[in-house]
Every structure is written in C-alpha cells, then in structure tokens.
C-alpha cells in the first residue's frame, strides 16, 4: 500500500472538456492520447452533475476523482482508489481557491488563459511529483503572486525606455485582445 498520500493528476478543463492546464504526476497515462482519453472520460462522467456549490466526487476505473466547477472552468483532482477522499478534496479546494484569488474573482476560461502563467505556477506550488506541497489557498496564491508583484513593483527603478517598452507591451496585449 502506498503510505504517503499521492496525487495522480490535477486537471483544469473548460466547459467543453478542452484543456486549460493539466498536470500529471503518475505514469498511469504514458501517452498524450491516454491522457486525453482520461480527460474525456472524466469530463463526460461529471459534466451533468452540479458541482458548483460543493465539491463532488466520483469513482471510476479504480480512481477517485474529486471535482468542482465555476463558470466555464472545471477543476479535477485524481487519486488512487485507496486514497483518503478528504485529502484529495483538500487539495482540490486549495487549487480552486488559489485560482480564484489569482484571477481576482473573475474565474472564467478567458481570464484563466490570459493568466496561464499564474495557473501553471499555481500547479507547480501545490504538488511536486505527486507529493502534496501545500494545500492552503492563501499560501499558494501568495507564493505565486509574490513574483508577479515583484515583477511589477520595481517600476520606479526601471529606466524610461524599459517603462515605455512595458507600457507598449501592455498596450499591444490589450489591442491584440
């Protein structure tokens, strides 16, 4: 028996089952197509359920999947069949709330993709190779956000050209949208 609680994967899908960001920590799905097949199965199994107020849970193919939805974002955490369900739910809640904090309450697919860097960092801070690294949403978001804050903070120290470049960057970004 696996003694240390372990996470098999964390998935963030959109309302059609497409990937926004996913992270696998187990070799159970060796190829991309195996991963996609798993995501499809999870998505179709859960799409009709209402997981908007409470975290929901299901079991199939000897995996336990806990999930929660908000707007057009579907959050999933998968564990083995002997895993403590409540630990999985805690990890999911940490991920879910951290994303909420990082997107400043605008949790939808567009916002998530626009801040994909934050989402990826967030995944990186929650689980490392299957071992739970942190499950407290505030701590996770804090760790992720400190960087973006730092990046934006020393604006005063930047040279005028750099500041202009940054501004132009922001402008083009918003125009491109």
């Amino acid at each position: 028996m696996e003694l240390c609680p372990s996470i098999k994967n964390i998935l963030l899908l959109d309302s059609e089952g497409n990937r926004v960001a996913v992270k696998y920590y187990s070799d159970d799905w060796p190829t991309n197509s195996a991963k996609e097949a798993f995501e499809r199965a999870v998505f179709t199994k859960t799409q009709k359920t209402n997981a908007r107020t409470e975290t929901e849970i299901t079991m199939f193919d000897n995996y336990i999947v806990v999930y929660k939805f908000v707007q057009d974002l579907h959050f999933f955490v998968t564990g083995g069949e002997n895993e403590n369900e409540i630990i999985l739910a805690t990890v999911l809640q940490g991920f879910f709330d951290a994303v909420g904090l990082l997107l400043r309450g605008n949790e939808d697919k567009r916002e998530a993709l626009e801040n994909l860097d934050l989402i990826l960092l967030c995944l990186d801070e929650i689980v490392d190779g299957g071992v739970i690294l942190e499950s407290d949403a505030n701590v996770i978001a804090g760790k992720v956000d400190s960087h973006s804050m730092d990046a934006g903070a020393p604006l005063s120290e930047q040279t005028i050209t750099q500041a202009l470049a940054t501004a132009r960057e922001h402008l083009t970004r918003s125009l491109l949208q």
């Binding site: 849970i57 806990v66 409540i86 993709l113 990826l120 760790k143």
Partner: protein
C-alpha cells in the same frame, strides 16, 4: 427581457473561441523564443514566450529532440535576468523540458548559485529543479546544501528539500539515508507541512527497519504532531505497526488502538476519517473496537458535503461485507442516501443496505430501488444486480419479489453487460433455489422473445434445454423455443433446434410433437440449422416410432465436452485428410495453467451462463508434432503429458539447459533444450549422458544427439527410457552434457576444424508422481464427485507436520499431486484455521481422479489433512494415497 440578449452575445463570443493563444503555432513560437538570446532581455516578453511554450507542451504538442535542446539552451540564457517572475517561469520550463545529462551541466552552476541565494523563493525552487534533473554524481556535490536546507528556518525551503529527498530516495537511497539527523530535526518543526514532509521522508528512510518504525510511531503517537496531513501519515504508519505486531499479541488490548480511537475526536475531518478507516481495516477487528469508528462515519453520512458522505458510505460498504451487523445502526441514514444527487453515493448506499438488510426490509428496499434504477448508469446497475443476487441467496423466501424485480429490469433498456449480469443472476437463482425455477425459466423465455443479443439468446436456449425438461410441465416452453426458429438469425435458430431435441430426448410424451417441429426445420435456409435437425431426427429415431431414448443418445445430447476447445481446434487444424478418420480421443485434455492476468479479476468468477474455462493456447501440440517427427519415438503411442521446462543449470552459465519430460504409456522422453551462450564456441555432437542408477524401473532405449549448437540458437537433444506400462514409475536421473567444442573466430564467424571433447555437469532430474497426472478441471465439482460414486473411494488422514501457514501446506499438496484445483479452492483465506481444497485430474491410463482435501490446523503450526480420493479405478485411488504418503 434583457437577459436573453446578453446571453446571446456571450454565445457568439464563444463561437469565435476567444483565446489569447488562438491560432498559436509551434514553429512561430519557437521563432519567438529567439528573444531569449537578446543582449537586452525584456523579462515581460520572455515570460510571455515561456508561457506560450508551456501552453503548447500542456496541450500535448511534442517538441523534437532538436527543438527541445534549442529551447533549453536559450532558456538557460535567461538566468542573466534578475526578474523574479521570469526566473520562476524559467524553473518551471526547465522541469518541463526534462533535459538530458549533458544539458543539465549547462544550468547546474546557475541553479547552485540560486540554491545558496539569500532569496528564499530562489533557494526553494532551485532545490526542487536541481533535484528533479540531477543524477547521483552531482548529488554528492550539493548534498551539503540540501542538508542545510532541510533545517532552514524558512518552511518553504525546508519543504522543498524534504520533498526532493522523498523523490531522490527512489534513485539514490544511500545518499538520502545520510540525512536522517536533519530530517529528524525537521519532524519537530512548527510548520505544519514541514512536519508532514519530514515524517514522510523519515519513515521511508526507515521503512525496512521495523524496530525503528515502531519507535518512531510510539514516540509520535504521544502527541507532538500538529499538521493534519502528518497526523494522517502517522495513522497509516500506526496501523502498519499494528498489522505487523498482530501475531505477537494474541490476547489483550491491541497496542495503539487508543491512539486511533483518540484521532476520531481530532478537529480535522481528514484525520477523523483516516482513523475511522484504519480501525475498520484492522485485522480481526472486534465489534467493540468498531463501534466508535462506525459512530463517526454515521455522522459523516448526513454531512452536507458529498465527499464526506461518499467516503463514509464507501467505508461502511466494505465493513458490511465482514461485519454486517455493525453497520445496521446506520441503515436509516443510509436509506435517505438512496435519493442522493450523487449517483456514486446512492449506489454505494443501496449495495450496503442490500448487504445489511434483514428479511422484513427487503420489500421496502426493492420499491426504493425500482425508482432509482431508471436514472443511473449501466455500470452502477450491474453492481446493484449483483447485490440483489446475493441478497436473494441469503433470503430464499424472498425469491418471488426479487425475481420479479430482476425480470422487470430485464425488460428495460440496457447494454449487453448489464443484461448479461441480470441473466446470470436469474440462472444462479434457478440453480440454487428450487422454488424459483419455474418462474425464473418463464422470465427467461419471455426475455428471449425480444432479445437483441444473440449470445444471450443461445445461452438461454441451452440452459432451457437442460432445465426445461425437468419441470412439471415442459410443454409450455416449446412455444417459446419454436418461435425462435421462426424469428431469429441462424445462430439462434440452430440453438433452438438443439434445445428442441433435448426436450424430445427427455420427455417421451412430447416426442411426436418435437419430431413434427424438427422436420419443419429441415427446410431452413441455413446449413447448420438443417444439419442439426437431420442429426437429431436420426439420433432420436424420428421415423415416427416412439421409443425410449437410449443412454448414449442422452450422453451425446447432454454430456459436456471434456476437451478444452482450443486443444480441439488445434488438433483439427493439424488433421490432414486421409483414410484415417479424425479421432476425438486423441485430442489432449490437459488444461494449461492460465496466465496470471486472467486470474486477476476477482469477483469475475465464471458463475453464470457460459462458465466453461477458456482454454488458453498450449505448447502441447508443438511437442506432439516435434516428437512424432522423430522416427525413434514414433511408435511410443499417444503423448500423455509434457511437463513444464525444468532448469538444469543456473542462470547465466556458459550453457543453459532445461528439460521437458514427455510421458507416454510405457516410455518417458526427456527433451533437453540447450543454449550455447559463448560467442567464441561452436558445440557439435551434443548429447546428454543420463545415469539412471537411481531409477530402477527405467531403461534407456534411444537417444538423439544434437548435431551442432551454434551461439545463441537453441537446439534440442533427446533421451528416451522404457518403463513398465501404465505404472507411475518414479526415479532420479543425473545428467552430464557431452559435446565437442570448436573455437570460433568472432570476426569471421568461422569455426576451426579441430574440436576438443568436453563435458559439463548438469543438475539432477526427477520423475515424480505428479508427472503422471494431467491437470483437467471439472466445471461442477460436486456433480462430478456425486456421479463418480463412492465405490472406489479411499479416505485417510495424514499429519503434515509443522508448516509456515495453511496456504503453504495446501500449495505443497497441490504441487505434489499435480492436479487442477477446482472452483478457486486453491486460495486460502488469511487467518482461517481450516480449509477444503478440491482437485481434479486424469491419471495415466486415462482414469479420472477427483480429490477432496480437508486441512486443519492442529496445535499452533501443525497441519493435519484428510484426503478423500474418488476415481474410476481403485488401484488409482490407492496410488494417489501412496503419492501423498511417500511425498
């Protein structure tokens, strides 16, 4: 009114599929990645490009080796930037690219610099990246920093080092084990997660040292663990310790139980649940121990959180299998879960209730389930059907309502697996509950009236043919069966014809009517249907005379085919048209042991229809062909059995030799499979000198040398012995490999002309009694046992002396006899003090043998066994006893 309009706009937006990555293309992004090489780095822009690269990887886009290397090198340039956010992305990117060893060197120094930096974030991340990509050699260089990091005052840094340690322990255990002291210190950390990670690592370092784990658990259970996750770990370790120490404390209180029970009052739900689950899984848990755990799980059942309800009901479901009465207290809460929104919870609740319910609650329960069945998926329905089947076997008096329920759901929509589960259940109920037979058969008849699955129709028809004639009024089934002949496809029609014939054979009163029906089938459009009708009309004497059906006709119609279908198929394929007709008696009857993979699925035991064991492909015909092609052995007759290969050499010696024992009626042939593993040698004229001085009844009659044995291409040499006919002679043979060895020039592959004679000692080989018994299973042991009769039954008792376990004793006897275990009785449930094992086989001379073994523990370790043998020949029954007595 405004709302729908807004909604429409949203919809249109979605159609355009807005995404910042819309139209993203790998080639273009790789081009963009050139900005990493700019002398004047723009962190914002670089971050964006990395995000794009990560996006592509995340979507499953694969980078070629060249692309990955190129990206990796440009990413390493970004270490020049001081931008925190960018550095963070660089770390993630490097981990995603999982660089090769020579690439790792490129970033090592940068990462090592970060690892000793003053910024905590750098230190923590650099450790994680470096440990992820590093190999053993580098690890020794950074070990010192890692040890420091473990006890770093910043919890993030400490956790990073500990988690990395957990991963590294898999690849470099000897290094990580040296960190014990630091890890131990970290266990005392005030930071919750540091404690969790340290505990996990410390336990993994010590997991093979039982005493150390014991000490760890007893010191920590006294209460210094703060983090809920660490507490869960501790509970798992504790139950492991309890499991392993169970043997030493037969009586009295279980050690550490108080700790587990105390955890039930913890404030974190995950700890409460972990403890409750641990208690329910204790070996031989008593109901007194269970009660507090069940109580907290019961509270979870009415929680507003689905996860808690699911966790609780799943655990209770497992408890219900072993301690149904302990769970009955929760039945009221469980019943309210039947209507749970979450179907997984509802299904678990129902199956638990079905396990714990009593006779009086069955009807109420069935009513609730009926409402629920329509809106769950097939896989859940199958679980429910199986639960209902076992409930019905438990309360046979309730068969009417349960059977009704099954027939109702049989009529509803459903896939094949689901329908098959229902049909299987009905069949089992018909078999085991005599009162349920007639209604059950009629339900099945109605089902095939409108059944879309050919497989199920034919299986049911076959079953009807066996059970139908034995009912009080067989004629009422005829209409259903004959309707199939009109309305179905050829496969089902042919099945129906066979079933009709069975009714004709068994029920004399129906014979004239059956003949009329069978004659009509002579005009069918399908060959098989017509052939069957003709065959049956002839065997039953369909010329109008109503005669008593002969025993051999009955045997022909009802007898089971005792030959594995695969063997029959192979023999038919090998048969070449000639004057000699195909003889079914020459088909091998032995069932080869099934590959493990097939045995794995528990609960999928063939119970219902179509239970015949799948005959796996065998090497037997290959042997048969090989031996019959050697003229010296051609007159030995039919091959009775070939053993599995027995190794005669250690692994990785110069010459690898194994032997297969082929048993004939009055001969034994040893087939030595030899492999030459030395490239510089060619062996010629290879023979095996067999010394049979310890095998008195054997006399060597022939041998067939192997002319040449080049490197790495296996060859065979044979030695044949004569032995008394039909007698299971045993003996020990010593073997010596003799050959002429020639040097081979490895560059040209040519052998020298002159060779040297040489010998090579092989291990001894024994012919044992088990070699004379074929593993042939029977589908229903009890029937076979009864029909064999007790005429030649021999019963005796044996003491097997002290054994490690009951299972070990059972396996030893099975191996000794070399017979086929039936009905899964080779598996001994843990902790049981007695066991019954059923074996069947065919003894040399084609004599069927059945064995019933009853094992019991006599004293602490001594195993006693009662052996009952039935066979068609008393000498064979005695012979089996002799094998055991001398074994």
């Amino acid at each position: 009114m405004a709302q729908p309009l807004v909604k429409k706009d949203d919809d249109r937006d979605e159609e355009v599929e807005y995404s910042p990555f819309f139209g993203i293309e790998k080639g273009a992004v790789l081009q963009e990645a050139r900005v990493f090489n700019d002398p004047q780095l723009d962190p914002q822009r670089c971050s964006q490009v990395i995000t794009k690269l990560l996006y592509l990887l995340n979507q499953g886009e694969a980078f070629t080796k060249v692309e990955a290397t190129e990206v990796f090198f440009s990413v390493t340039k970004l270490f020049q930037s001081k931008d925190l956010g960018l550095r963070r992305m660089v770390y993630v990117m490097i981990k995603e690219l999982s660089p090769s060893a020579d690439e790792v060197i490129m970033v090592t120094s940068s990462l090592m610099k970060d690892m000793t930096s003053k910024t905590d974030m750098y230190r923590a991340n650099a450790i994680r990246v470096l440990c992820r990509i590093t190999d053993g050699t580098l690890l020794t260089q950074i070990e010192r920093y890692l040890k420091q990091a473990i006890v770093d005052k910043n919890p993030v840094v400490s956790s990073a080092a500990l988690v990395s340690g957990i991963h590294l322990l898999q690849t470099n255990p000897e290094i990580v084990k040296r960190w014990s002291n630091e890890v131990q210190e970290a266990v005392q950390s005030r930071a919750a997660l540091v404690q969790f990670h340290a505990l996990a690592l410390l336990h993994q370092i010590r997991q093979n040292d039982r005493l150390a784990v014991n000490k760890l658990v007893s010191s920590l259970t006294r209460g210094s663990v703060r983090s809920p996750l660490a507490q869960c770990l501790l509970i798992r370790y504790t139950s492991q310790v309890i499991r392993e120490s169970a043997n030493n404390t037969q009586t009295g209180d279980r050690p550490f139980y108080d700790f587990l029970e105390g955890c039930l009052r913890h404030k974190a739900e995950m700890v409460i649940f972990e403890a409750a689950r641990a208690i329910t899984e204790l070996n031989g848990v008593t109901s007194r121990e269970l009660t507090p755990a069940i109580t907290v799980l019961q509270l979870f059942l009415s929680s507003s959180k689905p996860v808690l309800r699911f966790a609780a009901v799943r655990t209770l479901n497992k408890v219900a299998m072993t301690h149904p009465t302990a769970v009955t207290n929760c039945n009221i809460d469980m019943e309210s879960l039947i209507s749970d929104q979450n179907r997984s919870i509802a299904t678990l609740a129902i199956t638990t209730l079905l396990k714990t319910g009593n006779e009086s609650s069955v009807d109420r329960l069935m009513k609730q389930i009926t409402n629920f069945m329509s809106d769950i998926a097939d896989e859940f329905k199958i679980v429910v059907v199986e639960a209902i089947r076992s409930l019905c076997l438990k309360f046979p008096l309730k068969h009417r309502s349960l059977m009704n329920f099954l027939s109702n759901i049989l009529r509803e929509e459903g896939g094949f697996e689901y329908k098959k589960a229902i049909v299987d259940s009905i069949v089992i109920l018909i078999r085991d509950i005599p009162e349920a037979k007639e209604t059950g058969l009629l339900h099945l008849c109605e089902f095939i009236e409108d059944c879309e699955f050919t497989y199920l129709s034919t299986q049911i028809l076959h079953f009807l043919g066996i059970e139908g004639p034995k009912t009080s009024d067989p004629s009422k089934y005829i209409r259903y069966i004959y309707n199939r002949v009109h309305l179905e496809n050829a496969t089902v029609r042919a099945g129906a014809v066979s079933t009709l014939a069975k009714f004709g054979a068994m029920v004399d009163g129906l014979k004239p009517r059956i003949f009329v029906l069978l004659r009509r089938c002579l005009f069918d459009t399908d060959d098989e249907v017509r052939d069957r009708a003709t065959l049956y009309l002839n065997t039953l004497g369909g010329d109008g005379a109503v005669v008593e059906t002969g025993a051999d006709v009955k045997e022909f119609l009802f007898g089971s085919l005792d030959i594995p279908l695969v063997n029959l198929e192979n023999s038919l394929k090998n048969y070449e048209p000639s004057e000699k007709p195909f003889d079914i008696n020459f088909v091998l009857k032995e069932v080869k042991t099934q590959p493990l993979a097939e045995k794995k699925a528990p609960g999928k035991k063939p119970t219902g229809l179509g239970a015949p064991p799948p005959g796996p492909p065998s090497t037997v015909d290959a042997y048969e062909k090989l031996l019959s092609s050697i003229p010296e052995f051609a007159n030995f007759g039919k091959l009775f059995k070939s053993s599995a290969p027995v190794e005669l050499t250690e692994a990785e010696t110069e010459y690898a030799v194994n032997v297969v024992k082929h048993i004939f009626d009055s001969h034994v042939v040893f087939q030595y499979n030899c492999t030459n593993t030395i490239p510089e040698q060619l062996l010629e004229n290879v023979t095996v000198l067999v010394d049979a001085s310890e095998a008195e009844e054997f006399a060597e009659v022939a041998s067939k040398p192997l002319r040449s044995l080049p490197y790495d291409s296996p060859g065979q040499t044979f030695v044949a012995f004569e032995k008394p006919e039909g007698v299971p002679s045993v003996g020990k043979f010593s073997n010596m490999l003799r050959f002429i060895v020639k040097e081979v020039d490895p560059s040209t592959g040519e052998a020298e002309d002159d060779g040297v004679e040489d010998e090579y000692q092989l291990e001894d080989l024994e012919v044992v009694a088990a070699d004379y018994i074929l593993k042939v299973g029977v589908s229903n042991f009890r029937n076979a046992w009864e029909s064999m009769g007790s005429d030649f039954e021999r019963v005796d008792e044996y003491g097997l002396g002290p054994r490690d376990s009951l299972a070990e004793a059972v396996n030893a006897v099975i191996d000794l006899l070399g017979m086929q275990p039936c009905e899964g009785t080779e598996v001994v449930s843990p902790n049981s003090r007695s066991h019954t094992c059923l074996l069947s086989g065919v003894y040399i001379g084609n004599v069927k043998v059945l064995v019933r073994l009853q094992f019991g523990l006599d004293g602490p370790k001594d195993v006693a066994m009662k052996l009952a043998v039935r066979s068609e020949d008393e000498t064979v029954s005695d012979a089996i006893h002799e094998i055991v007595a001398s074994g």
